[in-house]
Subunit: 226 residues, 2 copies
DNA sequence: CAATGTGAAATGATTCACAGCC
DNA sequence: GGCTGTGAATCATTTCACATTG
């Protein structure tokens, strides 16, 4: 369908979709590239280039039809199909993810919870019960689960990834701070909170260094950022 | 110090650092670009190019000194300074973040918790007590907090961002699914779990589409990914 | 005439391939 | 001999600027 949509574009489509839902809720029928770009936090040229890859759904002189564009982007992202998620690792973060409303509200449902620790098995979270990881393959097949989320400690993550792949899962969201080896054809996305903090730390550090080096010259002056 | 380190490189340095700590723990004194690249999940040319931006810390014919490289990368990322974090929004996700060990283990400490809801104020989490958001500026100044983490619902996030900026925070990690407007000089990084899921969804969708279109030809053949 | 869609230019990132060094 | 460091080449992404169109 869109075999060669640039990866950078794919990564922005969900943002556009969120912005569009917001605009729709505010009663907008159409929106200009400028307006949508602002709502999504990008510049308008980039937005137009991104959308042009999907085809021509705008009207020159007018803008984009909000409802139509929502439909199109959802189709491209495959959100017409409701996707079920297996969450593995019911610790601190796993609990939060299991109860996170943001998934359900955007077409995903956490359909099963797994852990390896005896102490966790059987715990109820919402409507679900935590099961032992050994039941993974069985449940993935029975429920038609297509995405696995790993929220285990790093030392367990590779084994869990192997089990997910073995069970037929081909998309993994990894919260464990480690590299996963998976066969080609399996997609892994990684979210590492400490990495995000360290990137911020770099910029803090740089700001601190570039703010000082011109110390006592003109006493007056505005504090100016990058 | 490193004013023009490519952003893509900055984003990978934390991965290298994690890999290096792993290697150090396994007793390696030196590591080749090939070895480190594998441990960090990148290819060796990219790793060498990245490290070359920091200067020449490798030895031809040998590799990199693990301990030295750790020191260098930590210095570049500004991790020598222990950074304090304010966490705003003590809901589902906020609780998990407040208890997340990954921060402390890598040089960050959650120094204060805030919420706007009466019901949350005063709750103890670990050694900290949840305070009212109105105390933000005071506590940020008193504790020397440099990074703010927003884990509120989207509708509250912009106001919280304004309050953080007003209190002097210049780095924000945003978990709320919305765009934040901040003055230049303030860095925002965004983590949106639903966006990650939607990107995975796109690839699932594409895999499903490209797997079928050649239906009944050669019954045999390996399942091959991208 | 306002705003899209898009070639072309500019910028940024990755990969190649090998000279230079230990 | 093995491995780093790096110019040059390739590839990807962003931005510009404007012809085109409803």
């Amino acid at each position: 369908m869109f075999p060669d949509l640039p990866e950078a574009t794919v990564a922005r489509l969900p943002e556009y979709l969120r912005a569009l839902h917001g605009l729709a809720q505010e009663g907008h029928d159409t929106v200009s590239s400028e307006g949508l770009a602002t709502a999504a936090g990008v510049n308008s040229a980039k937005l137009r280039k991104d959308l042009s890859h999907l085809g021509s759904y705008g009207t020159r002189g007018v803008g984009y039809d909000v409802a139509l564009l929502i439909t199109q982007i959802e189709a491209v992202l495959g959100l017409t199909k409701h996707r079920k998620v297996a969450l593995v690792g019911i610790g601190n973060l796993g609990h939060a993810l299991a109860g996170y409303g943001g998934f359900a509200s955007r077409g995903f449902s956490v359909a099963a919870l797994f852990d390896a620790e005896r102490s966790q098995i059987g715990e109820r979270i919402g409507t679900l019960v935590v099961r032992h990881i050994d039941e993974l393959a069985e449940v993935v097949a029975a429920e038609g689960i297509s995405i696995g989320v790993i929220a285990t400690p790093a030392r367990a993550a590779q084994q869990v990834a192997d089990q997910l792949v073995g069970a037929g899962v081909t998309s993994i969201l990894n919260f464990a701070p480690c590299v996963l080896n998976v066969p080609s054809g399996v997609d892994v996305r990684k979210v590492d909170l400490a990495v995000e903090m360290q990137i911020l730390s770099f910029h803090e550090h740089r700001k601190a260094l570039t703010a000082l080096p011109v110390p006592p010259e003109q006493p007056a002056g505005e504090a100016t950022g990058s």
